[in-house]
Symmetry: none
Subunit: 210 residues, 4 copies
């Protein structure tokens, strides 16, 4: 040990291949069940089964059920906000908004479980995500609302309340993931994301065209 390069300190020596693989498996399985059954409706057994690991082994990687959930939320937060971050203040306003809407629809299609995970959490009062809303989401939304307000002031977008506009975009795009069970019934299993793209394009174009 004397001649060792010494990473003895408690520094969490970067995870091994197995560690990374198993953590990934666990989070994948957890996403599946948490997004479907909610926090309380999910059991460690379900996660363990889904991950192909024993229950105590799950707890070898995560301190407890809650830590898995919080880790999921944290890890997904960035990806979740990416579409809004990608709005280009230097772009053509209407284009930027419409492209944001289309990105959000695509996320609903590609990541419906993630959408439902967040929906579940917020529906129950965001008990494990409260801080993130304040520190992660709020500033970004404030900035975006200000940007839109600027565009409106310049006459490059029709007059609307920017914050309610943002709410409406979230609501309409995430609806297809969050309320999929209902959408399925009413579209008779079609799911029709193309129709969603077309409809919402029309909607926001008519709403915002200057």
């Amino acid at each position: 040990m004397p001649a060792s390069p010494d990473p003895v300190s408690a520094a969490p020596s970067r995870p091994s291949r197995i560690q990374r693989r198993n953590r990934k498996r666990i989070l994948e399985a957890a996403l599946e069940v948490f997004s479907q059954h909610g926090y309380r409706g999910t059991t460690l057994d379900q996660i363990a089964d889904g991950a192909g690991l024993s229950k105590p082994n799950i707890l070898y990687y995560f301190a407890g059920k809650e830590e898995i959930h919080v880790t999921l939320l944290n890890d997904l937060m960035d990806a979740w906000l990416a579409p809004m971050r990608a709005i280009d203040p230097g772009g053509e306003p209407l284009d930027e908004i419409l492209r944001y809407v289309h990105r959000k629809i695509e996320m609903s299609r590609a990541l419906p479980r993630e959408s439902r995970l967040f929906a579940n959490e917020i529906l129950q009062g965001a008990p494990r995500m409260g801080p993130h809303l304040e520190t992660g989401l709020k500033p970004l939304v404030d900035d975006t609302a200000a940007l839109i307000a600027g565009w409106i002031a310049e006459g490059r977008l029709a007059r609307v309340d920017p914050l309610h506009l943002i709410f409406s975009i979230w609501a309409t795009t995430q609806h297809y993931a969050d309320f999929d069970a209902q959408v399925q019934v009413l579209t008779e299993g079609g799911d029709d994301y193309d129709g969603a793209h077309a409809f919402l394009d029309t909607l926001y174009r008519r709403l915002l065209a200057p």
Copy 2:
């Protein structure tokens, strides 16, 4: 029980005043907790506490936790669909749609717990409500979509996909109840239902004005 005038058969001798009062209490308490914590997150103890009844007494009125939940869903279904049923086929199309939108916003404001109860249920795949969607919701939505399609064909509304229009109205109006925790943070506690009325009025007016 032998001397009872009422034979054992399932004929439900009409409920006494106490029975009606207690059932109402139970359902009220159950709505409160189910809407906040979801199905699995809710315990009979919480419902019993909220109702001011003992746990076994709860089970005297309902066969089990699931029956309470299903009863709630059933009982609320009618009220939930009332705003759509109230659309007058003989009215002025744009007015009818806008008034539907405003009624839905008002329901979000007045009955947020009911909204979240349904949201929770659908988010989890509608495990206890599946049939209702097919038999209760689908026909009504089909009719309404057909009505709207008719109006569009007559040139009395701008061209849009009626079904996606309906989705968007649900999404945007219920958003204020279902994602209240998030709305609260971003509006800094204001909640702003007036802004929602104004914004959505503008939105659907611009979208649908012929």
Copy 3:
């Protein structure tokens, strides 16, 4: 219920006969195992077995393992301090001390499990009894030490440090209960409480006779 004298309020309406009987059974069984195996070494299963009740039924009466332990400690505290409280400040000093010693030996003989319960707790740093030492024990010991100091000042007892005297009385008398396993081996199963009475009478008489 209308004509009821109404103890509806949350007041813990005095326990029923069954409640009292079962709580007693649980505490009796818990004393048996806690005193033998210590807090951590005791399982609820052992207590449940000893009490002839199911494990969840144990938890119907007590909120958890710790509450059982704390309840035992609290309930026994008074009895435990009674011998010291019974010292009569108006009595003949040497007699009073000697009678205190004999009472303590009798407690060791009659209540060895209680003695070991306290010994276990203090040995591990009194984690669940800390406050009691300060508020219950300390004032009483302070008073008793002052009383003894007064007797010494009056020349009615030989000079000794009162606090260390008290320690020695506790140590010598409780030894027979706490270290019974060892005493048994060395006395070859005799246990000899009579010898203890005689020896300690001699000891404190020679120490304290003025």
Copy 4:
């Protein structure tokens, strides 16, 4: 292993320096936690942490938790009995006893963890030390009691029961280590070993002076 010079047989090839160091570390850490939390209250993790070794490595040196505990008990037994062995049959009786008492107090002061380790074990019925009491302790105590009886018969010590005398010396001296939590509270954190020396010197002098 085939080419190993050391055949598989149990012949314990003498331990390397590292082995000796690690065993010592483990036992030191184990003493710390066993004496504080008791056998069941102690986890291998705590020992591993204290020793700075991994948990499996602990089990490379010891077959299991129990073996660590038993080893501790065995290794300490000699040191624990040394003060009694040091009583000189050829010495001046009162001096010998008093010096034994003082040595025991010093052990309480210097090795409180060892004292509590034994106390814990005996308190719980000596489940892992039973034999030792018979084979190690009993003969020594028998001898010492006989020695004291002889001194008394010769009129060189006042009449007392030798075995109860020994019990009392153990009880009074070890009390300061075993019940330290209580002593601390009552001495207001002083701990006062000097007072203990003085008090017990007086006590046994008055008891035994011929």
